[in-house]
Amino acid sequence: MRLCVTDHSGAEHELEALPGWRVMEIIRDWEIPIKAECGGACACATCHVYVDEEWCDRLPKKTDEEIDQLEVLADLKPNSRLSCQVLMSEELDGLKVALAPGSRP
């Protein structure tokens, strides 16, 4: 299962992903710099990513908690998500995301 990530320098990485893992955890596991300061509690919004347009509608819906966090971001875009709130699954094999400025460590 693959996850494609564009890091803060613009470099693209194709990462081996495991089902059930949070996208944030996979990015961190492969040592691509990501702040993710609250460690996946949906409490800090420092794992913010932009989801490739093709994939936006295929992701699970945002919870109110995620919307609360996203709403106040300076770099918010329509395709913004918190990568700790997206769990990898068969349907998301090949998912493409780019790290947003606010998730830089």
């Binding site: 300061e37 609250c38 460690g39 509690a41 409490a43 420092t46 966090q69 709403e71 106040v72």
Partner: protein, 341 residues
């Protein structure tokens, strides 16, 4: 002239590792003062995820962030630590006799031979909303906390946010302000249900306004505010306002400790793994803020670091005394310090 406190160890950060450091120091007979920018103990555990279950604390199959904090406070109570809450450790200086002096932004000064940095990801600071020139209004019309209620007396106040702070200040400022408007992007809150109920009650009585909408921009010649521009289901409108309070949660910034003269590597402080001492003798770092080969950012690692660091702290604070390794199960001295014997 403010009083200068004297203690054995100053701990910067009252999160789980800072709190447990008090325990390990206390067993060795060392006293501690703690400084934390939050108004309560627990750090991230209490501020970011008080309700979230933690499963990897030894002997606690499951415990919440707040539960862990409460237990640690109970465990360190016999050592009577002194807390300086709501204060940021702002500067560090070395006194002629070799002890350290920490000064806070509130004017508190504490002297000690040993400093422990247990500051996790840094100081919690308010998240600011996405408005281009908001900085120009800050301090005059835009605030992220209420320091003095008087600044809002007789004013038209717009409060944005959906958590406890937004709700609490909506209720507290309602009798004081000319008019309070609460703005949130949805009709749902992450706040105490009784506060939400009370807010709804006030709104239905016409004593406050509750608006579901999205924040756009601020109006008025900065730093003077005249209104807050928002978008609702019906379109754009301007809420007349003299004061704007934004409660969008907190984020962590390293803050003034970056200027304490220590080595940093990517916002982390390198330490050795025998004493967890930094590049500066007498200054130690435990918990999420330190780094060494093999470091794991786990609460239990911080506890271990605190125990070893305390041995080194003892040797600095009590150079003429012998350090004796003792067990709490058998040592009368430790049991006396724990106030159980």
């Amino acid at each position: 002239m403010t009083q200068t406190h004297k203690t054995d160890v100053i701990i910067i950060g009252a999160g789980p590792c800072g709190l447990f450091t008090v325990f390990e120091l206390g067993l060795l007979g060392l006293s501690a003062h703690l400084i934390d920018i939050l108004d309560k103990p627990g750090g991230q555990c209490a501020e970011l995820y008080p309700e979230k279950p933690i499963y990897d604390i030894p002997a606690w199959p499951v415990i919440s962030g707040q539960g862990l904090t409460d237990r640690l406070m109970e465990q360190i109570a016999p050592f009577s630590p002194v807390f300086h809450f709501g204060e940021m450790a702002e500067s560090l200086e070395k006194l002629p006799d070799g002890t350290w002096r920490i000064s806070t932004d509130a004017g508190t000064t504490v002297d000690a031979p040993v400093i422990v940095l247990a500051a996790g990801g840094g100081s919690f600071v308010p998240k600011k909303p996405t408005i281009e020139n908001i900085g120009a209004y800050e301090g005059e019309s835009v605030f992220y906390a209420v320091r003095k209620m008087d600044a809002f007396r007789g004013k038209r106040v717009v409060i944005a946010g959906g958590g406890d702070s937004a709700l609490d200040w909506t209720l507290n400022l309602q009798p004081v302000a000319e008019r309070v408007t609460l703005l949130h992007h949805r009709d749902g809150f992450r706040a105490a249900p009784h506060s939400v109920a009370r807010m709804k009650e006030l709104a239905s009585e016409g004593k406050i306004d509750f608006v579901v909408g999205k924040l756009n921009s601020l109006a008025g010649d900065a730093p003077r505010l005249s209104g807050v521009s928002i978008t609702t289901e019906k379109g754009s409108e301007i809420l007349p306002a003299d004061r704007f309070l934004a409660f969008f949660g907190l984020t962590m910034k390293l803050g003034p400790i970056a200027n304490f003269g220590l080595n940093f590597a990517e916002n982390l402080i390198p330490v050795d793994t025998e004493k967890f001492e930094t590049s500066v003798p007498g200054i130690f770092a435990v918990g999420d803020i330190n780094f060494y080969p093999g470091k794991l950012k786990l609460i239990l690692s911080g506890f271990h670091e605190a125990a070893l660091m305390s041995q080194a702290a003892f040797r600095i604070c009590r150079p003429n005394e012998k350090l004796r390794f003792q067990y709490t199960t058998s040592s009368t001295q430790l049991q006396q310090r724990l106030k159980v014997a």
